[in-house]
């Protein structure tokens, strides 16, 4: 426990007669500045080191994607910089005769597009309702979602697979099938945008209601124009998620290669197919996936940060 008996080291000299005079001793100031500079230097060193560690894998990935397939093969090698730089791997990917890569890319893009629209609508309606409307069963719905969220997601995988199969949405119908299961339960991820709606003052709704607006009009004309940041955040998340999903995508599209998404296709190149021959192609494919997503993310980073910090604080 701290005792307050010791005299604190402060840059104040106390003069009994004149009261408190704030005066900073020059030699102390200098030592403080030196201290400051030293700690800043340490921080810079740490940050530079971290930046290297954080960027290195991505830089390596790009290097290896430009390695010449014809001269140096497609496997993993024990050196970093390609001896011959070439676009072999990219050319190979862009030729539909070689692989289904372009189709996978298109599939994922379509899924992402649909998901970003449907999921956003679902999430917005659920979070708006739970945040700003009061009705019987509201608490019950929230508690149910809480409990359902504790079950691991893959538990239901086989059931979903057979449900989709009944609807004819597996294998060749995998893309609409995946859109369906990504979107159907997406309303459960309402927390972050509910947190956002909670922060809007309630008087907005009330004054509009007094002026005779229906709840629908309040939603459309008063609240929606204020939700731009959270709408963008939700769209961004919904758009990015399908690019990384391997598990459901591989299960639903199982065996029907043209209907894979990029994650499944590339994963199989590395882990199932003979990855020594496909490694640089995987790198090139990875670059093609990562670059647009990263650019998109960086452009909308502001909204992402708002969503994440808001969500973490409100739970």
């Amino acid at each position: 426990m701290n005792t307050k008996n010791e005299i604190p080291e402060v840059d104040i000299v106390v003069d009994e007669k004149a009261g408190v005079i704030r005066e900073i001793k020059p030699e102390k100031l200098a030592s403080k500045k030196a201290n400051e500079r030293r700690s800043n230097t340490i921080i810079y060193v740490i940050l530079v080191l971290m930046s290297i560690i954080w960027l290195a894998p991505f830089v390596f990935l790009v290097f290896q994607s430009f390695r010449s397939y014809a001269l140096e093969g497609g496997g993993m090698v024990d050196y970093l910089l390609p001896k011959t730089w070439s676009l072999d791997n990219y050319r190979w990917l862009f030729n539909p005769e070689n692989s289904n890569f372009l189709r996978w890319y298109g599939n994922t893009f379509i899924i992402a597009l649909f998901c970003s629209v449907i999921q956003t609508m679902m999430i917005l309606s659920v979070s708006y309702t739970l945040s700003r409307l009061r009705f019987k069963g509201r608490k019950f719905i929230m508690n149910t979602v809480l409990v359902l969220g504790l079950f691991p997601g893959f538990l239901t995988m086989i059931t979903l697979y057979f449900l989709l199969k009944q609807l004819g949405l597996t294998q060749t119908g995998a893309i609409p099938g995946l859109i369906l299961i990504y979107c159907a339960s997406s309303g459960m991820g309402y927390y972050i945008s509910k947190g956002f709606f909670d922060t809007l003052p309630k008087s907005l709704d009330e004054s509009a209601r007094i002026d005779g607006a229906t709840r629908f009009q309040v939603f459309l004309k008063i609240i929606m124009p204020l939700t731009k940041p959270i709408v963008i955040y939700t769209i961004l998340m919904a758009f990015m998620a399908p690019w990384g999903d391997y598990v459901f995508a591989s299960y639903v599209a199982f065996g029907s290669e043209p209907n894979y998404n990029v994650a499944v296709g590339l994963y199989r190149w590395v882990n199932v197919a003979d990855y020594q021959g496909y490694f640089t192609r995987f790198c090139a494919g990875g670059v093609l996936v990562a670059v647009p997503i990263t650019i998109l993310f960086m452009c909308l980073q502001k909204y992402y940060v708002e969503g994440v910090t808001g969500g973490a604080v409100k739970g």
Binding site: D78, L148, M157, A290, G310
Partner: protein, 498 residues
Amino acid sequence: MTDLDYLKLSKPQKMLVDLRRFLAALPGHIGNGLKNLVMFIVNFFKGIGLAIVDVIQTFIHGDWKTKVSYFVMGFGSCARGQWGRGILFFVFQTLFNFYMFNPNASQSGLYYLGKLSTLGTIETHKEGRRTVYGDNSFFILLYGVLTIFFIIAFIYTWYTNIQQNKISEQILKSGHKLKSTKDDLQSLMDEQFHKTLLALPVLGVTVFTILPIIFMILVAFTNFDMTHQPPGKLFTWVGWSNFHELLASDTASHGNTFRQVLLWTLIWAFFATFLNYFLGMLVAIMINKKGIKLKKMWRTILVMTIAIPQFVSLLYVSKMFAADGLINTYLMKWGWISAPIPFWTQPGWARFTIILINVWIGIPYLMLIATGILMNIPADLYESARIDGASAFQMYQKITLPYMLFVTGPYLLTSFTGNINNFNVIFLLSGGKPQSMELTGNAGYTDLLITWLYKMTVNDTNYKLAAVMGILVFLVLAIINLVAYNLIPSVKNEEDFQ
């Protein structure tokens, strides 16, 4: 002990007292919970009893329109001019009847319901050269559950239909007018707006989350596995024996493996949550420090790991750490090591590497959150602390940390829960490997419960054990959440934050 005594105690002593109080209150909490549960059940049946009495009373006292509505749903509404509601009721009843009493006997609700207790008795067999398909246990179970859902929905709708008749009668008797279909539609955009907004999401969650979860909970009590796969074979109810197979310690069971995997899951979730939390906070403090330039650039560099899809970054990194990967080959080239470091082949190393790489993934996320919160801490707190002569570490310990912990309490909880179910990192990095003879059921040393569950589903098609595991994961998470819910103040009250 009085409050004053409590305040005089030192920190560890305070924590001890807190813990003792929590434990002392625990039986009370549990007792209360049980009491609530019992009350809930009693009230539930009381409600049903009242509803039945009400239904009978309404039938006796109601007019003929109401009486007909008991058999033809929506008749009363239509007869009183509320066409919209009436037609909806009628359509629902027709659909229900069609589903339940489908003339094609093997697709009707009644058929599935009747077979539910055995999950099918006629096995697929060959008659001469022809294969005769028998019962399909999977569909019997799935549609059996669906039928029960449907029946509950029907009873509820039927009851609503009667209530509507009763209320309409009362309204007409008192001389008022009934709502027209147009009024109904308008109210869906106003007083009943929540129904409009929630209809689709609730339907989606019911069919694609609740139905499958109930189905899988039931599968945990059957012998649905590799050797009992429909349509070729039947499966049936076996009671609790799957729980025994997963938890018991004898040689035919997976008890030892389960305990090891569970322990590693908890260790992993602990490190993945708290290591990332403190390191991420540290990084945020460093970047936010006065006098550090290019703040935005540092953040952007770190955020790369969030932006790039994990299957690209994690798969690539996992190959970097492979025996023939970049890291090992370069370390050998430089002569620092003579043999490759067994990053993925030795249990200890594999676990360490996974936690390490997860820090790489997790720090940026925490850094963003911490940055947002750190900026919200009132600057005058630090100012006065500095005047009192506090060192940087003291300020961190007394101001930053408590503030962060309080504000991010709920986040820590969800993050811990999320990490227990963190599939991607493990699956993409190690795939649960390395495996050994000591672990049964195809589990590996880095497998979490969730990845083991995945393996059981996809590789072994051992659905029954996967279902049991899913239930156990749920129990573990439920316990953690309940305890945390009672200990963390900021989780409890939702409205406080509004």
